[in-house]
Assembly symmetry: C2
Homo-oligomer: 298 residues x 2
C-alpha cells in the first residue's frame, strides 16, 4: 500500500500506526486527530506519520481509511470527508458495536461508497497515543462485518490487512456481532462500572473507609471501570437493545443466586459455582487468557 | 515460638507455613490436613513441617493454632481438639466472614478458651499447597477481629505475628468487617460468578459460540469465578445478610444504568462513568493495585 489515513490517534489508532510501520504495510501513514493534546503527544513520541486535515488533497490518493475515534464522532467526520471519497476508497472503523453505527454510516455516506466495519478485540483501560504499541493486535481476534451487500473486494482486502497486522480474522453479520459482544464485553464493562458505583454509594451511606480494602476483589473491577467514558457511553447507547436484554438476564440470575444464599440451598449454589469453573478451563483452552494464577499485581 | 499448628494446608495454610519458615518464627510447624491428595503434595514439595493428627500429644505444647480450612470445617475440628485446649493456647483462623462463624465458634469451644479471628486480605483463584508462596501476605492488610470481650493478650500476640509475616494489621469488630468485605470482596466474587453464568446461559439459549471472544472483558471475570467453590459457598452462607443487602443495592444501581442507557441520558451516564474512574485513582494511591495498564496476559 502507498497511503493509509488513520482518523483518531488514541490507544487503538496509535497502535495500528505502530503495527503498520513495523510490518511495513504502507509507505505513508496520515493521521487526522482533533485533540491538540494528542497531537502534541504524537509529535513528542516522534510517531512516524504525517498529521493532516487536508482531506481534499490526501483522500483521492488513499488506499485505506481507518476510523479509530469514538463512534459518536463518525457522523461529523463523514460529512467532512464525503465529497472527496471515491468508490475505490476502502473505509473501515474499529468500533465495538455495529448495527446502529452502520445504519447511521449508510445514511450519511455518499452513494456508491463502501464501508466494511472491523472490530479488533483488544484494548485496555488506558487511553491516548502514549499507551499504544505495535503488538496490541497480535494473535487477537478481529471481527469483520459481512452483510449480504458488503463489498467483497474490500472485505478481502481488509481481511488480508488485519492478518498482516497479526490478528486472527473472523466474519459475521452486525446483528450477531452485537449480540455476542453485548455478553462478552459490554455487559462485563457495565457490571464493573456498576460494582464500583455500588461500593462508592455504600461507602458514603455507611461512612466506612472501604476502598483501602479493595484488594479482595473490587480492585480488579475498578481497573475495568477506569476505561474511557466517551467510548463506553457510545458503546452502551449503540448496543442499547442487546445490553438491556443482557442486564435482564443478569438480574434474573443474580436473584436466583440471592435465593440460594438466603435459603442456604447448598446443592443449587455449589452447582452454579462449579459450572462457572468449567468456563474458565474453556477460556484458557481457547487461549483467551493464560493459565497462571493471579495474586494481585506488585 | 516453639510450636505452631496449621489446620488445613491449602493455598493459605501452605503460604503461612512457608512464611513462618522464611521468617524463622517457629521452631516446629505441625500440619493437620484431612485431604490425602494435599498430604501427598506436601510430601512431594518437601514442605518443612510435621504432618500429624495426634492432637492429644501436640496441642498442650502449642503456642499457636491457625485454622486455614473452609469455614464449614471449623465445627468438626473444634469438637476434635476441644478437650486438649488450654486457656493459654492462642487460636485464630483466616476465614473471610466473621459474625456467624464466631457465634458458632463461641458456642462450640470449651469454656475459658479464647479465639481471636484473623482475615489476611490475600489469595488467588487457585487452591492447593502447590500454589502457596512465602510472600503472599507481604504488605497486604490483615484484619484482626476485636470485640469487647476479646483476649487482649492474644490479640497483641497475633498482631505481632502477622506483622512478622509481613502484613499490615488493622483491628475492627466482626460486624464492621462483614459489612466492609461484603462490598469489597464477597459481592465482587458473586458478581463474577453470576456474569460467567449469564454468559453461559446466553450461549446455550442462542447457540452462539461466544466464549472464544471473551478477551473483551468476560475473561477477567472468569478468572475470579474460578475460585474455590467450597470456600465461597461458606463465605456466601456466613455473610448472608450483608451480601443480600449488597445485591439489592447493586440491582438498584444496575436498573438505573439500564434506564440511562435506554433513555440515552447522556449527562447521567457520563457522570456515573467519570465517578468510577476517580475510585480507580484512589485504589492506586492506596496501593491496592499498581498503575500499569492491562492489555491482557500473554
Amino acid at each position: 500500500m502507498k497511503n493509509i489515513l488513520i482518523i483518531g490517534c488514541g490507544l487503538i489508532g496509535s497502535s495500528l500506526l505502530r503495527a503498520i510501520v513495523k510490518k511495513k504495510i504502507s509507505k505513508k501513514i496520515f493521521i487526522f486527530e482533533k485533540s491538540k493534546t494528542n497531537i502534541l503527544k504524537i509529535k513528542k513520541l516522534k510517531l512516524p506519520c504525517i498529521i493532516t486535515s487536508d482531506f481534499k488533497k490526501i483522500i483521492p490518493k488513499l488506499d485505506l481509511i481507518i476510523f479509530c475515534t469514538p463512534m459518536s464522532e463518525y457522523e461529523k467526520i463523514i460529512l467532512k470527508i464525503n465529497r472527496y471519497l471515491l468508490p475505490k476508497t476502502i473505509i473501515t472503523d474499529v468500533g465495538s458495536s455495529k448495527e446502529i453505527a452502520l445504519t447511521l454510516i449508510k445514511k450519511k455516506l455518499k452513494k456508491n461508497i463502501s464501508w466494511v466495519s472491523s472490530h479488533p478485540i483488544s484494548g485496555s483501560e488506558v487511553s491516548g497515543p502514549e499507551f499504544g504499541h505495535s503488538s496490541l493486535f497480535l494473535s487477537k481476534w478481529c471481527i469483520l462485518i459481512k452483510e449480504q451487500n458488503s463489498n467483497r473486494k474490500h472485505l478481502t482486502f481488509l481481511s488480508k490487512f488485519w492478518k498482516k497486522i497479526g490478528s486472527k480474522v473472523v466474519t459475521m453479520n452486525a446483528k450477531r456481532h452485537d449480540k455476542i459482544f453485548s455478553m462478552t464485553s459490554h455487559l462485563p464493562h457495565l457490571i464493573a462500572y456498576n460494582l464500583v458505583k455500588t461500593a462508592t454509594d455504600f461507602e458514603k451511606q455507611k461512612k466506612y473507609d472501604l476502598i483501602k480494602f479493595s484488594a479482595g476483589g473490587l480492585r480488579d473491577f475498578s481497573r475495568i471501570a477506569a476505561s474511557n467514558e466517551i467510548m463506553w457511553r457510545d458503546i452502551f447507547f449503540n448496543n442499547q437493545y442487546n445490553i438491556s436484554k443482557a442486564i435482564d438476564l443478569f438480574i434474573k440470575n443474580l436473584k436466583s443466586f440471592k435465593k440460594d444464599i438466603n435459603s442456604k440451598n447448598n446443592q443449587s449454589l455449589i452447582k452454579k459455582l462449579v459450572e462457572t469453573k468449567k468456563v474458565r478451563k474453556k477460556i484458557i483452552k481457547l487461549k483467551q487468557d493464560i493459565n497462571k494464577p493471579d495474586f494481585g499485581r506488585n
